[in-house]
């Protein structure tokens, strides 16, 4: 777009030229083609797990044919029938035709609830299409010169909307998964922390500190009139302790005491003694803080405590927050990465240096993240190992690598290529690994000559 407008300005005001076709028209056509590619990418990404890009393409084709019929009757037909010959004729028709294609993709993006940048891009295409089609029609008559028609304003609208769309983060940037998960599990009775007078800053209602479900009150505080706080089970073996008033001032010491006390052996009803491990995170809250945000901060501190060796507590550190959020987000996205076709394997050959013969290769997984680009294993495998995603990831890598090896083996019989696959520690010892890979089974016709699992 910028190329086209710079060239157009140059022709009109500096060089006093009016070539056709010109570099300006090339720039404008490239703008439409790039817009179409962007919107098509948005459609494909929004297609989710329901299959390849065929469905959005067919939808686009159907809507496009309908829109094109309307466009043909309204304007393109006149351009086609009355336009100049040769390249000028083709250009006059190309713009409204490309416009209707881009508008189609934009409408489909809108219909599928695309995020901010694509919505703005779609909105930009409405004035853009009107201006382009109007220009093509005007060019048939007395010709078009800038400043002679109010359609010029429509182009400005379109350019402004496109500029605004560029300020938005690209699709694939959902609300961090940690926040969503915390909101679903957060206490419904903690919409906001109490203010100075015990009133919720958000709802104006006093927080129900006394009889919420699945929680218990701590012993009375120093005044003896109110409990020092509440204990709530978040799920599984996760608990939250909310200390209020004077009890909160010694929260660090209190948590340290809890962690230390928890190390004492506990005798179960079966007679077995177990030593529980406790990891705790401490954060403070100010009046008006959202309960969900406080829980997230505490969760960040808990993760730090677990990462620091467990059996300890950590105080919330804001610098860790971004990293933890990014880690959670990657864990959530990784679950669908394989289904979305975002995982790829790169094969690094193993050579015999004496003969130069390829002995085999090592399968290396990469994540072609739609927003972050090509991620190396070090960027996401540690996160996967902290979640159940590592199992699916390992199975996918093993299966895909074995299929590739079977393909090569069929193409080059007798080559006896080795395939090396890296497996996550702690999961590679299971005897179930080979059975998870259909390509390794005898039915698939390939027996690994020398699989190397690392």
């Amino acid at each position: 777009m910028t190329l086209g407008n710079v060239a157009w300005f140059w022709y009109q005001h500096l060089a006093a030229l009016q070539p056709s076709p010109s570099l300006a028209e090339v720039g404008y056509l490239l703008t439409l083609l790039l817009l179409a590619l962007c919107l098509l990418r948005g459609l494909v990404e929004r297609s989710g797990h329901q299959g390849p890009a065929l469905r959005p393409m067919l939808d686009a084709l159907m809507v496009g044919v309908g829109l094109f019929a309307v466009w043909w009757v309204l304007g393109v037909q006149q351009v086609w029938g009355s336009g100049p010959d040769g390249a000028g004729h083709a250009l006059l028709v190309a713009f409204p035709v490309l416009d209707v294609i881009v508008l189609t993709l934009a409408l489909l993006n809108l219909q599928r609830g695309s995020p901010g940048p694509l919505r703005l891009m779609a909105a930009a295409m409405v004035p853009y299409t009107l201006a382009d089609s109007g220009w093509a029609l005007l060019a048939l008559g007395d010709g078009y010169a800038p400043g002679t028609h109010p359609l010029d304003g429509a182009w400005v609208w379109a350019y402004g909307l496109l500029a605004a769309s560029a300020t938005r983060a690209w699709p694939g940037s959902p609300v961090p998964a940690t926040r969503a998960s915390w909101q679903t599990m957060a206490w419904p009775f903690l919409p906001a922390l109490p203010g100075e007078h015990g009133q919720s800053h958000r709802s104006g209602q006093p927080p129900p500190l006394h009889h919420p479900p699945r929680r218990g009150s701590l012993p009375p505080g120093p005044t003896g009139a109110e409990p020092a706080g509440v204990v709530c089970r978040l799920g599984g073996d996760e608990f939250a302790v909310l200390l209020v008033g004077a009890a909160a001032t010694g929260a660090g010491q209190a948590v340290a005491g809890m962690v230390a006390a928890a190390r004492s052996p506990v005798t179960l009803g079966t007679g077995h003694a177990v030593v529980p491990h406790v990891s705790a995170g401490v954060t403070s809250a100010q009046p008006g803080d959202e309960g969900a945000d406080v829980l997230v901060r505490a969760d960040v501190a808990v993760y730090a405590a677990k990462g620091g060796g467990k059996n300890r507590f950590e105080v919330y550190d804001p610098s860790r927050h971004a990293r933890v959020l990014a880690s959670h987000r990657l864990q959530a996205e990784l679950v669908h990465a394989a289904d979305d076709g975002q995982l790829v394997l790169h094969y690094q050959p193993h050579l015999d240096l004496m003969t130069g013969r390829v002995l085999g290769c090592e399968a290396l997984v990469r994540w072609d993240h739609p927003e972050l680009g090509l991620l190396m294993p070090g960027d996401f495998v540690p996160d996967a190992e902290r979640s159940s995603a590592i199992d699916a990831l390992g199975s996918w890598v093993l299966s895909r690598a074995c299929r590739q090896a079977a393909t090569w083996d069929a193409r080059h019989p007798g080559s006896d290529l080795e395939m090396s696959v890296n497996l996550s520690r702690g999961r590679c010892g299971a005897a179930t690994w080979p059975t998870r890979c259909p390509a390794c089974s005898p039915r698939a016709g390939w027996t690994p000559p020398g699989s190397c699992w690392r």
Partner: protein, 83 residues
């Protein structure tokens, strides 16, 4: 509030408002026939040029911000060679 690539949540709406106002003003100038043809031509072409440069600027800044964000998310040139 929706996340922005530039870290400036208010920039997008400001650009939209400016562009709508600018486009409406340009259309009005042309409709009313204010000024001579050459002035309107220059005004129109300069408007296209300015907004396409604004677009290029926001796109480049967004691209750079995204690259920085990717690096901050843990991508490093010293990452392990293989897995």
């Amino acid at each position: 509030m929706e996340r922005t690539a530039l870290g400036a949540p208010g920039l997008g709406p400001v650009l939209v408002v400016l562009a709508l106002a600018h486009g409406a003003l340009l259309g009005a100038v042309v409709l009313l026939g204010a000024g001579d043809d050459e002035t309107r031509r220059l005004l129109s072409n300069a408007s296209f040029l300015v907004w396409s440069v604004v677009f290029a600027g926001t796109a480049v800044r967004a691209w750079r911000a995204r690259t920085v964000a990717s690096d901050a998310a843990g991508r490093s040139s010293r990452r392990p060679r293989s897995r």
